[in-house]
Symmetry: C2
Subunit: 403 residues, 2 copies
């Protein structure tokens, strides 16, 4: 094939984003693309002239990189403006880049869309394709996003593990709050309930940003569960806001924004712990796995890893047929056994749009998910995805005296 | 055997504390102990008359419980006073309890020691044996403590994973701080370096409580690593204090104490992030895995799991020979291949004593551990304990023009 292929990674890293990169490189070779360049740190590095030559990476090295969490090329959150798009297109023209593949989420889809439009406007033949990647699972027009199955598995297991701690010491620390990632959508928090098999099992409360939460309701919820079970495990999205739109996070600790102006709320769980202690007098602890939740190679879903590679391959196949301005999507073909295939969607319908949790996945009467959500999410975690835990089925000793 | 066996779990739960319980039950059955009772929530539940009958637990159930994180009997941090010891001994006498086995750390060793001494003083024949369990790894007279190998594996992997995030976005968030458990000893933080193979690999800085740290030195360290590598991953013990003994943790968020008066410091990493941002102008993020680090079944070390079961079994063997007032210890017999055996130590020499990291395990010139520590710790994580990650070995493209 004539022309170079340029590939980049953008946005928050995941445990499978390198599998998409490996898929691109493998498939490009299969189509005899001779020169493959990688952008260092996405569009940010590209505009600084930082490129890596990936043409001669050995298959053995690629195999280890494929399973290594993180963005091997380097990533960034860079908002491509008009001038940046101009310069990037000029670079492509100057170096005969004919395939532009960009692995990322909503913001990256916007970057690819701008470049694709500009190329068409200027009459430069460029196949610009977005490869979906976001643990937020909030891209529209795809059944789910690569990265989600793995973080969902992590959060489901972490909730099971952390709950066993709270169950162990209910009188000492009856309340546990687990803070997980998410912006406007609660897909990650929702996955916390996938290991729950009974009412007694955690999580007892899942707070997702689709449903604002008043402080009064939160305290009532915690008190109710504590009364019934003696302990409470709640999972909360880091961006949770109350009914007036105010974040639960400490005002003095939030206020940071990323390069797109998205607020980076911090300290939500810690603020909720202090609220519970102050208002209910219940000792509380919190876990904030932070970046660990999207970077765990041990929790990587084999389904997610395979699909992440496949969307990378599909993007190359799409690009070499001359298509442009599209994002690769995943279409679910069957649930049992789980099967998916790739398709594409026009970027104009993807960029800067978010898919929130649909009503059908949210319980109407309590902060929880539905059976429909479980059926949607479980196959994405892979087979035998969750550990099996047990409680002791032992009867209480009835004493005639007291000690 | 005549007489009942009473077993309890105390202190923070771990992913292998139930393996010790399973070991006790299996071995008690092998010695034909007919009645096995479990204390609910350790001495706290015992004094409230809460016992479980474990005599008829099925082997199938025990096998799942053995691999389930958390204290299946329930745990507590309960300081056994003179009156409590009196009541507990009277209970043993009233119910013909002849074997008292208690799975826990330093504070639990003290509980067993008190009870053993009181029984001897009152002429009641009771075999009171402590079974070691603490992720803090700070019990004296044992090579290491059950629970440590698993948390060490968790922290080593978490550091590798989290570092891949920071390496992915060095220009956005150049500084990552990971807050891990520990009281006065830095064994857990020390394990963060076990996956480090080169100077470039994380962690670049490990702060352990054995070495107080001035804020000025901390900022110098971070600045130095950032200048050299462009990003910094630091691992810090949650209780870290400065050279004047003041904790790094937010004063308004710390101040909590547990039932033994140990301070529960919180927010150390978050305070350090704010310091870095304010003084060096570098964007920082932190991960605080909290209870996840000691509860992860996926990170459980097979060596640790087997040893946890074995110390439970050894305690029963020790008790049925009539020994009392002792703790089971682990003795390392060989490093390659790793082999250990159990022994015992007098509780008077164990209780309320802490083993800090020895000088030989701490680098003298920088905040890091030594090769001697790696040789000590690695076998405890089990074989093939850490994932293999790679960076892309790709050369920079040399451009004649700029984009």
């Amino acid at each position: 094939m004539s022309g170079k292929l340029l590939v980049g990674q953008a946005g928050g890293a995941t445990s499978v984003i390198n599998a998409s990169l490996a898929g691109v490189i493998h498939e490009a070779r299969a189509h005899a693309v001779e020169t493959i360049w990688g952008m260092s740190r996405g569009a940010e590095g590209a505009l600084a002239g930082e490129y890596l030559d990936l043409s001669d990476i050995s298959s053995a090295q690629l195999e280890i990189v494929r399973r290594t969490p993180g963005a091997a090329l380097g990533s960034s959150r860079y908002k491509l403006g008009d001038e940046g798009a101009d310069r990037l297109l000029e670079f492509c023209r100057a170096h005969d880049v004919r395939y532009f593949l960009y692995i990322g989420g909503n913001d990256s889809a916007d970057t690819v869309h701008r470049l694709a439009c500009l190329a068409q406007l200027r009459g430069y033949e460029l196949a610009a394709i977005a490869i979906p990647k976001t643990i937020d699972n909030d891209l529209p027009l795809t059944d789910h996003c690569p990265g989600y199955g793995s973080i969902a598995r992590y959060v489901a297991i972490a909730t099971m593990d952390s709950a066993k701690d709270t169950e162990s010491m209910p009188t000492m620390y009856p309340v546990k709050i687990i803070e997980v990632m998410g912006r406007d959508a609660g897909w990650v928090a929702a996955s916390a309930g996938l290991g729950k098999l009974s009412d007694e099992d955690a999580p007892h409360l899942i707070y997702m940003p689709e449903r604002p939460l008043s402080r009064r309701q939160f305290l009532q919820d915690v008190e109710g569960v504590h009364r019934e079970l003696g302990h409470v495990v709640a999972v909360v999205t880091e961006t949770l806001r109350d009914e007036r739109g105010h974040p639960f996070a400490d005002p003095e600790l939030s206020g940071e924004v990323d390069d797109f102006g998205h607020p980076l709320l911090r300290g939500t769980a810690s603020a909720m712990c202090r609220l519970v202690q102050a208002e209910l007098g219940l000792r509380s602890r919190y876990d904030k796995p932070g970046s660990l939740q999207r970077m765990s190679s041990l929790c990587t879903s084999p389904v997610d890893l395979a699909e992440a590679e496949e969307v990378g391959r599909a993007a190359v196949r799409c690009a070499v047929t001359g298509e442009t301005d599209r994002m690769i999507t995943l279409v679910r073909e069957s649930d049992r056994p789980y099967r998916s295939r790739t398709d594409t969607a026009p970027l104009a319908e993807v960029a800067n749009r978010q898919r929130l949790l649909p009503e059908a996945f949210l319980a109407s009467d309590r902060p929880a998910t539905t059976e429909a959500f479980r059926e949607y999410a479980m196959p994405l975690l892979g087979p035998h995805a969750l550990p099996q835990y047990a409680r002791l089925a032992a009867s209480r000793v009835v004493l005639s005296d007291s000690p």
